[in-house]
């Protein structure tokens, strides 16, 4: 398992591995927001938590179709399926490496972008907390979407269509927690629910993803 994680991380950091693409996308989307809604700082500060959450979600989505498609094309998935490592574990590791290369940098970059969007000072801590809690769920759910569409030619668009509705609860609770934090309200309830979703998906989704992947590889 550690070997797989190391390999995936190594691949992500090598040239052409796509590390940083999600981050750059996040940056650009956030920078474009003031251009589209106007530069008024009150408006920006109201929508900042939501915009940052949506940007992070889209950035996660962007890198998902590389997650399994490349391994499918070069036969790695076939070989992994015959390896002693259970497919559930392999997919959990894949989701983890996706989070480490996409989700974690987003969490770390969010405060900087929060500054640019005039996020209320009380909101920073909760923004980071909600993203840190929520982005793992995005990676795990995304892995399921990637497994569903891995055998389909040009499956990227279809994957977005399948994954985005599944992201709704995570987005609602995550953005709600960040928003309440920014408004100085107590974000405890949405944050707890978000943690619940994250833990639940981490525990259960790999089984669904592995089941689906076995069906595709047949």
């Amino acid at each position: 398992m550690i070997a797989l994680l190391r390999r995936d991380l190594m691949l992500a950091f090598r040239a052409g591995g796509g590390f940083g693409l999600g981050l750059a996308f996040f940056l650009i989307v956030t920078v474009l927001v003031p251009f589209s809604v106007g530069p008024q700082s009150e408006l920006l500060s109201t929508i900042a938590p939501g915009v940052l959450w949506l940007g992070a979600l889209l950035a996660c989505l962007l890198s998902l179709d590389r997650l399994l498609a490349l391994d499918f094309e070069d036969g790695t998935l076939d070989l992994l399926a015959t390896a002693p490592l259970p497919l559930e574990a392999a997919l959990s590791v894949k989701a983890l490496s996706h989070w480490l290369t996409t989700g974690l940098p987003l969490v770390l970059a969010a405060p900087v972008l929060g500054l640019m969007l005039n996020l209320a000072p009380s909101g920073f801590m909760w923004l980071i907390a909600s993203l840190a809690l929520g982005t793992p769920a995005l990676s795990v759910i995304g892995t399921f979407g990637a497994a569903l569409t891995v055998g389909i030619k040009r499956g990227g668009l279809l994957m977005s269509l399948l994954v985005l509705p599944l992201y709704v609860p995570t987005l609602i609770f995550g953005a709600e927690a960040a928003r309440r934090g920014a408004m100085g309200l107590d974000p405890g309830t949405p944050l707890t629910l978000l943690a619940g979703i994250t833990l639940g998906t981490i525990a259960l989704m790999p089984f669904a993803s592995a089941a689906v992947l076995r069906m595709t590889l047949r």
């Binding site: 390999r7 591995g17 070069d74 992994l80 015959t82 390896a83 002693p84 490592l85 047949r218």
Partner: protein
Amino acid sequence: MTLSIQNLAVARGGVPVLGNVSFAIAPGQALILRGPNGAGKTTLLRTIAGLQKPLSGVIEGADETIAYAGHADGLKAMLSVAENLQFWAQVFGHSDIEAALAAYQLGPLIDRLAGTLSAGQKRRLGLARLMVTGRRVWVLDEPTVSLDADAVAMFAAAVTAHLGAGGMALIATHIDLGLNAQTFDITPYRATADTRSGASDEAFL
């Protein structure tokens, strides 16, 4: 432990292609599969490797013993030869890649990125992967594609050494490897009406 196949029927895309296939491979033995294109060699090998379910029949001795090599080698272009090999060794719980490197004369290429190798070199790396799995049964689908005569000799030597150590091999190939092995022609086993039961679309007929 013998690999034994009894009355196996396999399907491709829901349509039965082979039926009533039976054979056994004892330790130290190899079996060469032959048959025209589209006869179902790949489907049969994938079924034995556990990548798809048989329509019917029994496969014994295949649990966690098979190393499969298909048309794709599972190599990453951005990793070096050693890194690719080490990765597969670790996945299978081993760490020694020296023997595999030596058998396919990959030593001089060890730091090259796999993406910069020629097709034949990639294939050699893909076959070297089998040696680091430590698995006893090699299931190989057209392993000699894009190999030159020298490389085929390396491959034959590697298989012979594997058999000598009590391993087994099931190889679909058209060329003569010079191995001391039985051949098994799958042409007569094409699925017929009475072996078709179990096909997924049978209910619609």
